[in-house]
């Protein structure tokens, strides 16, 4: 999705945070806000008199089950994308062919313009509804952005760095493993982070094709006109998205090779 483009276009201007300022106060704003909002929601819910329909969804078992489905879909899809897209990106970067690269980058751009709802619903129509379809849709959808980031990350490396590595007598594989990949890690991780956060959003839409997740709460709340259910679902999804982005941000900082 275009979120990736946003990050990319803006990330260029973002100075990388220096390592010594790792545990700053601002780092804990996100979890604090999430806990606060969740607490307020809980407080609000406990002040309400829930009817039987609301009680059926607004209980711990139901919410935990939906959250587990949601996280499962998100994490499995992102892991699959990482395993599939990064090696493909590395392999593609080895080819000298400009045509292949142009096709991949062009496809990735068109893919970003495609609405996720469209992809997931189209796949449900031509194939079947359910968890597997949602998973495949998510992987298909995130594959190209991550692939593109891998390619771009490897491409943006200064040619002279590559030359000097070669001059030091490194083989092609050594250059790749010890020079190119570490230098490309920040860009690759940024792509993965975007796709992870995005997967949380698409997993919400998965409810449309019977794949479960917290989207169920939003849709049920809307259909049955039970706003507490709808709001709780929405707040939970938003909290998960924020927390996952936060964790991914920390991982990004920790995994960034020293010196970059």
């Amino acid at each position: 999705m275009t979120l990736d483009a946003t990050r990319q276009m803006l990330a260029i201007r973002q100075p990388p945070s220096p390592r010594h300022a790792f545990f700053t106060r601002t780092r804990f704003v996100t979890p604090l806000v999430v806990v606060l909002v969740l607490g307020l929601t809980l407080l609000w819910l406990s002040s309400l008199n829930l009817d039987s329909i609301e009680q059926r969804t607004l209980n711990l078992d139901y919410i935990v089950a939906r959250t587990r489905e949601h996280l499962g879909l998100t994490v499995v899809a992102s892991a699959l994308v990482a395993v599939l897209a990064i090696p493909t990106g590395v392999a593609l970067s080895r080819t000298k062919s400009r045509v292949v690269r142009a096709i991949v980058l062009g496809l990735a751009n068109i893919g970003q313009a495609t609405p996720a709802v469209g992809v997931i619903i189209l796949l449900a129509i031509v194939w079947k509804t359910g968890y597997t379809t949602a998973l495949v849709a998510l992987v298909v959808y995130s594959f190209l952005p991550v692939l593109r980031n891998t390619l771009v990350g490897l491409q943006q490396i200064d040619e002279s760095v590559r030359e000097s590595a070669k001059g030091m007598g490194m083989t092609r594989n050594q250059v790749l493993l010890r020079i190119e990949l570490p230098l490309a890690v920040p860009v690759i991780l940024a792509g993965l982070r975007t796709s992870l956060v995005f997967a949380v959003g698409v997993a919400t839409i998965a409810t449309f094709i019977n794949a479960g997740g917290l989207g169920d709460m939003i849709v049920n709340g809307l259909k049955l006109q039970r706003y507490p259910v709808l709001i709780t679902g929405a707040v939970l999804v938003a909290s998960i998205a924020l927390l996952i982005d936060w964790i991914a941000g920390i991982a990004e900082d920790l995994l960034r090779p020293r010196g970059i």
Binding site: T6, I110, T114, I125, T129, V197, I218, A234
Partner: protein, 221 residues
């Protein structure tokens, strides 16, 4: 399982051409309305905070948080206060547009070389005058890039808004889902999805043209 039938798709398009055009117009309208509002708010905020470090990082962080919230969740939260239809859709699209616009406004205003700011000051311009007649024109291409990113983002999100009875091509996508198993299900969903993709690409091309024609003449390469 639905088989793809190309001639069927063509007849479908021919028969529902007016419906499709109507939805395209709605889609473009809602995106345009949201972008204009977001630009007014976003550029305004950007101009207020660009040289104040704390408000600046707070607004950008807040806009970043807003962008992280999944669209269906945000639309859902907007339903109790605003009902269904255009209002929650426009509000959601504005919220999502703010980050790229505010951020690029701030970046653009800050990137004006200090030497130019100094000479403007030396010519006796007040800070407000410098902001409007020097910084804003120089930051304009960067701001427009932000709006362009926002446009790409909102064209896609508007498709989901059809679920809350919002306007646009998303209606066809959801009609495809609700008629699952019928002959036209695939045609509906495919038309909606392709329509959004084509719209996004067209709007992007339009932005290239707008950027070229509205950039101050001295800045054009």
């Amino acid at each position: 399982m639905t088989e793809f039938d190309f001639t069927g798709l063509l007849t479908f398009w021919a028969r529902r051409w007016d419906d499709i055009l109507g939805l395209v117009v709605e889609h473009v309208t809602v995106v345009a309305v949201a972008l204009v509002i977001a630009m007014a708010i976003g550029v305004g905020i950007g101009m207020l905070v660009w040289n104040r470090p704390i408000p600046r990082s707070v607004t950008i962080a807040a806009a970043g948080v807003a962008l992280t919230v999944p669209s269906l969740a945000l639309l859902a939260i907007l339903i109790p206060p605003f009902g269904l239809g255009w209002t929650p859709t426009v509000i959601a699209l504005v919220v999502y547009s703010l980050l790229p616009i505010v951020r690029n406004t701030v970046v653009g205003l800050r990137e004006v070389p200090p030497a130019i700011m100094e000479s403007a000051k030396g010519m006796g311009m007040s800070p407000v005058k410098v902001l409007f007649s020097i910084q804003l024109p120089m930051a304009w291409p960067v701001i427009l890039t932000g709006v362009r990113v926002a446009a790409q983002l909102t064209v896609g999100i508007a498709a989901i808004a059809a679920y809350v009875a919002g306007p646009g091509l998303g209606a066809f996508i959801f009609k495809g889902l609700s008629s699952l198993g019928s002959k036209n299900a695939l045609n509906f969903a495919l038309t909606g999805t392709l329509g959004v993709v084509i719209l996004a690409l067209l709007i992007d091309a339009i932005f290239v043209a707008i950027t070229r024609s509205t950039t101050s003449r001295g800045l054009r390469a």
